[in-house]
């Protein structure tokens, strides 16, 4: 049987797991080696990292620079009232 290191399916799963727990060093090295050879797995890895970064980000992204929408006075008052209720 072929080693998992040559199998994208196994490598992709290992990589996902590496985001949730620390894998043993040899496994991490094999994973890295595979990604040097396989651009799809390398992409997969970058994209999972991006998903993580965006999920955890608190930034306001995707807004035009002049975007300055705020709560309307009305909404602001309504919310304040609801908090005091």
């Amino acid at each position: 049987m072929k080693h998992w290191m040559f199998c994208c399916k196994d490598v992709s799963q290992k990589f996902s797991e590496s985001l949730d727990r620390k894998l043993p060093l040899p496994e991490r090295m094999l994973m890295r080696m595979h990604q040097l050879m396989c651009r799809y797995c390398a992409r997969f890895r970058r994209q999972l990292l991006l998903l993580r970064e965006l999920s955890r980000s608190d930034n306001i992204v995707g807004m035009p620079p002049d975007f300055s929408a705020g709560l309307s006075q009305q909404a602001s008052e309504r919310i304040k009232a609801s908090l005091k209720a």
Partner: protein, 188 residues
């Protein structure tokens, strides 16, 4: 720390209302809905006030609550999802690979820069929509891990699953989410 002065609901709205509103508006694209989500966030925050540890900033904490409200909002909007067991999702990830374990549906090149705001707008749309369409249990695992930053142990406890089950669910969630975003965003 003096929690009394730190967490004052009266000044919350003035201090964080606009930012929360923008954050919500960017994701739901409807002012009335965004306002409601902000209100729900403040109300939930007030109820959970005692649980605020002060480890994160107040704003980060509020945005964390708001993210959940946004996801709930998408969930309510969307058609029903399946409540399958995690085992039933095996084929959903298997389909990405050929018999010999090579990519069959290859990850496309994503031309997205996390700091470049503009193209991210469409990207974030796809992100939230895809997350809301995902099978509930997988979406829950993903949100616990990536949005809330819980560790494996905490997720196992919250979802009553084993650690290995948790890693498999997260793998499947990531696979599905990644692919869904790619289909709904890049190739539009």
């Amino acid at each position: 720390m003096d929690d009394g002065s730190l967490l004052n609901p009266d000044v919350w709205v003035d201090q964080h209302g606009d930012i929360l509103f923008r954050f919500a508006l960017q994701r739901v694209r409807d002012e009335a809905v965004a306002e409601d989500l902000v209100q729900e966030t403040f109300l939930a925050a007030m109820r959970a006030k005692d649980r605020f540890k002060g480890q994160s900033s107040e704003r980060t904490w509020l945005i964390g609550i708001l993210k959940h409200k946004i996801i709930d909002h998408y969930r309510r909007k969307k058609f029903h999802r399946s409540d399958m067991n995690v085992e039933d999702f095996a084929e959903t990830t298997d389909q990405f690979f050929s018999e010999n374990g090579k990519w069959q549906i290859q990850p496309a090149n994503w031309d997205v820069n996390p700091v470049e705001a503009y193209e991210q707008k469409e990207f974030m749309d796809a992100f939230y929509q895809c997350l809301s369409q995902m099978p509930q249990r997988l979406a829950d695992a993903f949100v616990h891990r990536e949005v809330d930053g819980l560790n494996t142990e905490e997720i196992c406890k919250a979802m009553d699953i084993t650690a290995s089950n948790c890693w498999v669910m997260l793998y499947r969630a990531r696979m599905l989410l990644r692919r869904c975003i790619e289909t709904n965003w890049t190739q539009k």
